[in-house]
């Protein structure tokens, strides 16, 4: 990473932190920035300031867990998207390409419709998301290093889980369907510390692995023969990247539902900015993904008095932005 890129990256990290603190001020319940600051201070020096208890509840039990999740979810989805695009040498690949979203949706549906509290939707979504990717690797078998085979197997497994989801929807009670429909739209509105504790370690582990593997992604984006000639075990490396991306995306999807387009749009924006070098694309995607989701979440919380699910917003903002930048750059980045 050259000096210019390093400065750019730090500037974006600073922007992300700034946005995080600004986002603490956004919400239906009006708390002035001064009182936000006082509430933050009072967390460390409880008796120093007298503030309404609602401030602390809103800040520490509603806004902070939500923003932390938004930050990590954005990071996980965009880094996973960028890693898989490099791995599959295809810019149209997204983080859900290996059937992960269908698996997660089916898991959540199974929990909501039949299993209930014994198997919460978050856990079920994670288990089935990972299960769907494992099924892809299993079906692809020994040929799982072949990109086209993997993508096609992903499509097949995805279709299979979609069919199972439809079957569940068909037999579900109308009231279970309402819950499921809401989950499928993707939302951070009900984020709790429990969600943070459950998902953040998984998301962080996946993201850190992908960050550590960023230079290898450059090598893996060459032809398999070239990579083998360098003495690298292509199969193992690919499985490692897929496992890390699956862990991060499955954890993100299990707590936030299916938030589309992040893993496709953010890496494209990043590549337009810094080029196709994975050593830059991966860390920039991590920061930009977080910024993107934080902004989208701020809009869902700040624009209307009711809440539009974030999955709708990421598509509404992301797609026009993506089209605009693509037209402007007149380039196709691979």
């Amino acid at each position: 990473m050259n000096r210019k890129s390093r400065i750019q990256l730090w500037a974006f990290i600073f922007l992300l932190l700034l946005l995080f603190f600004l986002s603490l001020n956004i919400g239906s319940y009006s708390i002035s920035p001064i009182n936000i600051l006082k509430t933050l201070i009072s967390a460390f020096f409880p008796s120093s300031l007298s503030l309404p208890t609602a401030y602390a509840d809103i800040l520490f039990r509603i806004r902070v867990p939500r923003l932390l999740l938004a930050l990590l979810v954005g990071m996980s989805l965009s880094v996973s998207g960028a890693s898989l695009q490099a791995l599959f040498k295809n810019p149209l690949v997204n983080e859900f390409i290996l059937g992960l979203s269908s698996g997660a949706a089916f898991g959540a549906a199974l929990s909501i419709v039949f299993l209930g509290k014994s198997f919460p939707p978050q856990v079920a979504a994670f288990v089935f998301a990972v299960g769907a990717v494992l099924a892809v690797l299993l079906v692809a078998g020994r040929s799982d290093t072949h990109i086209v085979t993997l993508i096609l197997t992903g499509v097949i497994v995805s279709s299979f889980f979609s069919a199972l989801l439809s079957l569940l929807e068909f037999f579900a009670s109308p009231y279970a369907l309402q819950s499921l429909f809401f989950w499928l739209m993707g939302s951070l509105s009900m984020a709790t510390w429990k969600d943070v504790i459950f998902s953040v370690p998984l998301m962080l582990t996946g993201v850190v692995i992908m960050l550590l593997l960023r230079w290898r992604l450059n090598i893996l984006s060459m032809s398999d023969e070239q990579v083998k000639a360098l003495g690298i075990n292509v199969r193992m490396e690919k499985i490692l990247v897929i496992a890390a991306a699956t862990m991060a995306t499955a954890a993100a999807t299990s707590v936030a539902g299916i938030i589309g387009w992040v893993g496709l749009i953010v890496p494209h924006l990043v590549r337009m900015m810094v080029g196709a070098d994975s050593r830059l694309v991966i860390p920039f995607s991590a920061v930009m993904g977080s910024i993107f989701i934080l902004l989208a979440d701020d809009l869902t919380r700040g624009l209307t008095s009711f809440e539009i699910p974030i999955g709708i917003f990421t598509s509404l903002i992301g797609i026009p932005l993506f089209v605009f930048l693509l037209k402007k750059s007149k380039k196709v980045w691979l």
Binding site: G27, R61, F170, S173, Y175, S179, S187, E307
Partner: protein, 359 residues
Amino acid sequence: MISLKKRHASLFLALFWMLMAGWAISIGSQEKPYFKIVDDLSRTVKIPRNTSRILSLQPEMTRIVFALGAGDQLVGLDYFIRRYDHLFPLISARHSNLPLVSISPESVNIELVLRLKPDVIFASPSEFQVPESIQAKTGIPVLALSSMGRFEKLIREIRLAGQVIGRKKRAEELISYFLEKTGFISSRISASKEEEKPRVYLSFWSSLSRPPVFYEPVNVAGGINVAEGLLPEYLGTLGTVVELEKIYEWDPDIILVQGNYPPGQRVVSVPLILSDRRLESLKAVRNKKVFYTFGFWYWWDPAEVLVETVYLAKLFYPQKFEDVDVEIEGNAIFNKFYGIKEGFTALCRILECREWLHE
């Protein structure tokens, strides 16, 4: 001679006119074999005058058919009433074995419908294309009617159902009873000032953050639904999604949870809200003013929503309704609508809303 002829002629003329008038009267009084109704999808539907076989695919309408005393005329049941409705076995357990004609709102067994030969079919307007599609395939008139969560429309629905199945008198009797009860509540709370009215947040549809933007039982019982007007009325949407801190902004006096879900299927419950640490600074939570109410259950049950309004009035204004016993009143309402005794008590036991009962 001439005068006799004239007399005969005028007699003949008078007879002729009498005959003509009689014929005209008989033509006029001869009714057409059908009448027309404009349903909730603005479709004009021709309904036969004599309807002895009825099929209802709309749970609210099925309940109204029973309330009108025409349960025996039903030839089949929809999936919701048959599989998910805990009210229906209370209304009429013996009709539970009627043929099941649908497995989802959109999936109706047309061949079975044809075999059952109903004279009229009631369907829900929320499944936009389904009524027209069934009518086109079967040639049987399909009326799309529902209350859509409005008392005015519920009353119209009862009236039209009475007209269609030939139970106008019973329909008017039920409507008068309904209006009398709601009128009684309104008269007791009419003196209440706006600032005295409790501000109420409703957690419906299995989610803490999904309130209805209009819920008439709350308004009639003298409460203020804090989410009312959050979406423009012309959208026709009943519910919306809000942020948790929006509830803090409203800081309601009372939180009502949709209690129509069987206890095992409740995603949101009163204990869950009272123990949710994110909500512990809310006035309603601090004061433990979190209760169940019935809420929608595929629109309404006319008896249940009336009891609910009485219950809410007593909950909001305990002193003004001190003399009202919700259990006695509830059982009387269920008896009036369905002719069943202790119906409300049985329903509360199923839903485990024992705080509404004496026990």
